[in-house]
């Protein structure tokens, strides 16, 4: 697991991936299925757009007063008997978790799926100290048992099909050996394997979806019940959260409990959500640690254009609508954050001087679908264009930098998105042949060699998107 750090530039990694037909077929099925379900779930809410605006404003308000909110959270978690730790970077966060485990003499712990813990490469860090971390989310377990890495935020093992999982479980799970490839039977085997762990393991690690400053309440959203098991049954619980996950008031949670499930799994509500505030005597873990992680987030916060990236609630809606993600899959992004959100978050967390990460803002056709899907209205195309400009600054000025710089300027000065994209179309003019972009300068050049990309269309994005769906689906 490489954590945040892409081992290759995106065009190179993408070239390897787009040539795998099985992968592309799996991805296509999954992204299209979730995408359609999501449209239904969202369509059911008549005031969806107002909810998005409220979600955006709620996050922005918290970010504007982030230090106050974190201090308030720290005080309220402590008042409820929890302990709070601060980590400047991944290494500090790993060290904190390892020390807590060691102080309890623990050499095995259970984990709830958490991208933040993948970001800090927690499992590998713990393994170095002789502590085995068991993933309990079914997909994460599949990924872990096959020594693989997740490829999607929501369905980390979508690049695996049932035959692969059947072979894996028959080989790796104790006492199994002749499982069929029926998903229900495979899930049953995971249940048997994990049940014993849940009932007997002393320590658990989780991520955090939201934390409320006012009440010290931490929230984990999930489907399988493995989250509830980990959060309730062990004696010691450690939760690792990026500092941007904090909200101010209890009531602020409502809008996100509306936005997240419909955007993510396309359900009205996910099966289980757990909320706890510090320690509850006689119920659940009697020792609770909350780790507040920076790891580059304050640099993102300092950037007026990039700051909006920190609104992200990791719903994965932007992945499922992205034509580039659909063709390359998550691994091409080389980071725990794939897809459109990964293309803007990873290079910002690592800094634009990172030679591999700074190719990620090129991983987009700028079609705008990610912005339309994002429940907290992160203008991903705007940030992509801005970051392309930054990356080019690292390399010196090119024609593309000038064109992209102009688009970025237009977007930041409050033009309508469509207006700004007119400029993008003007900028890309010489490259378009019959509606396809067959070669792109610089960043995407390597990728378009193996896959022609639709040009930024002359009509509006939504129109174009619908047409493209019709033609492609």
């Amino acid at each position: 697991m490489s954590g945040l750090h892409p081992p290759k530039p995106f065009p190179e990694a993408a070239r390897d991936k787009v040539s795998q037909p099985q992968l592309r077929a799996n991805l296509r099925k999954v992204t299209h299925t979730i995408r359609e379900k999501r449209l239904r779930a969202v369509g059911e809410v008549p005031h969806w757009e107002e909810l998005r605006v409220l979600g955006e404003a709620t996050k922005d308000a918290t970010l504007a007063n982030l230090s106050d909110r974190l201090l308030q959270l720290e005080a309220s978690v402590k008042a409820r008997g929890g302990q709070v730790h601060w980590a400047r970077d991944a290494a500090e966060a790993r060290e904190l978790v390892a020390r807590i485990a060691e102080s309890h003499g623990v050499d095995e712990l259970i984990k709830v799926k958490s991208i933040t813990s993948d970001e800090i490469e927690l499992n590998a860090g713990l393994a170095e100290r002789g502590i085995h971390a068991i993933e309990t989310d079914l997909a994460e377990l599949i990924v872990q048992l096959s020594h693989d890495t997740p490829s999607h935020i929501l369905v980390p093992a979508i690049h695996r099909n049932r035959a692969e999982i059947q072979a894996l479980f028959n080989r790796e799970l104790p006492g199994e050996g002749n499982l069929s490839d029926a998903p229900a039977e495979l899930a049953g085997a995971a249940r048997r394997y994990l049940r014993h762990k849940f009932l007997t393991t002393k320590m658990a690690v989780s991520g955090v979806n939201f934390a409320v400053a006012e009440t010290g309440t931490v929230c984990v959203v999930e489907s399988e019940g493995n989250g509830r098991m980990c959060l309730t049954l062990p004696e010691v619980l450690v939760s690792v959260m990026g500092i941007e996950k904090v909200l101010e008031r209890w009531e602020d949670l409502a809008v996100f409990m509306e936005l997240l499930p419909r955007s993510s799994t396309a359900e009205r509500m996910n099966p289980y959500t757990s909320f706890w505030s510090g320690v509850t005597p006689g119920d659940g873990p009697q020792e609770f640690h909350l780790i507040l992680l920076d790891n580059g987030r304050t640099d993102v916060l300092a950037d007026a254009t990039g700051r909006q990236t920190l609104r992200c609630i990791r719903c994965s809606a932007c992945l499922n609508v992205c034509p580039v993600y659909e063709r390359t899959g998550g691994h091409a992004y080389g980071s725990v954050y794939p897809g459109p959100i990964g293309a803007i978050l990873t290079p910002q967390l690592l800094g634009m001087a990172d030679k591999n990460a700074n190719t990620l803002p090129g991983a987009s056709s700028l079609c705008g679908a990610c912005f339309d899907a994002c429940p907290v209205r992160i203008n991903i195309p705007q940030v992509l264009i801005y970051l392309r400009g930054e990356a080019n600054e690292e390399k010196g000025v090119t024609a593309e930098a000038l064109a992209m710089g102009a688009v970025g300027y237009a977007m930041s000065s409050g033009w309508r998105f469509e207006g700004a994209l007119k400029l993008a179309r003007a900028g890309q003019g010489p490259l378009v042949r019959g509606g396809e972009i067959t070669a792109l300068p610089g960043l995407l050049g390597g990728w378009t060699q193996s896959r022609d990309l639709k040009a930024v269309p002359p009509q509006s994005f939504r129109e174009w998107w619908r047409q493209r769906e019709g033609a492609d689906g």
Binding site: D60, P183, G225, T265, T280
Partner: protein, 208 residues
């Protein structure tokens, strides 16, 4: 390891990063059209059934019968201390959490019957605040079947309504569990599999 140092540094970086940034005013929370009581109950039923959980709506005197039906022969049943005994059919092997049942003991139980704190019709969500008629969190987690008895007046329409109703519980430091259908996964080729780790079956009994 200098955690105080890390704390100070992170806070300093934040303050430098957002110096001069103004928090936007929050727009009003958008509200749905309000449903009549009966329409709300129908909406709740529709959502619960959509999650493939079972649903019964009964009068006060019929609760024990409805619970018996939902138990479908299960005998070893966990019963929280504050649950109304009139909700239970006779002849059960009742397990009480006093002294606290062990994890292994709970694992041998077949079912649990509880009340709830509030329910949301738009999303078909049941919220437990683990009060005396619901028991601590492990009680509704380990047994395979969860039967939840909800008084009709505990059902509200929107997520915001539910969150506002829970303000007191959260303020008092209570944990909450939100349940929307039974445990499920779609991790293998997006095929929905009901029941992974939590209770695999959820039965809702609404009492008028």
């Amino acid at each position: 390891m200098g955690n105080a140092e890390a704390r100070l540094e992170v806070l300093t970086r934040i303050n430098r990063a957002v110096a001069g940034v103004q928090a936007p005013a929050l727009p009003a929370y958008p509200q749905c059209e309000r449903l009549e009581r009966e329409a709300m109950l129908r909406q709740f039923q529709d959502r619960i059934e959509d999650y493939r959980a079972s649903f019964q709506r009964v009068a006060q005197t019929e609760v024990a019968g409805a619970v018996a039906l939902a138990l479908a022969g299960a005998e070893r049943v966990v019963v929280p201390a504050g649950l109304n005994p009139a909700f239970l059919p006779t002849g059960l092997h009742e397990l009480h959490d006093d002294p606290p049942l062990s994890h292994a003991g709970l694992d041998r139980a077949e079912a649990v019957v509880t009340g709830c704190a509030v329910a949301i019709s738009e999303t078909g969500t049941i919220i437990l605040d683990h009060g005396v008629d619901q028991g601590r969190r492990a009680l509704t987690l380990i047994p395979d079947l969860h039967i939840c008895v909800i008084r009709a007046e505990q059902i509200v329409q929107s997520v915001l309504d539910g969150v506002q109703r829970m303000e007191g519980s959260v303020g008092a430091g209570r944990p909450l569990t939100w349940i929307s259908g039974g445990s499920a996964t779609s991790d293998i080729e997006l095929v929905r599999v009901e029941g992974v780790h939590g209770p695999r079956r959820l039965c809702v009994v609404v009492l008028d």
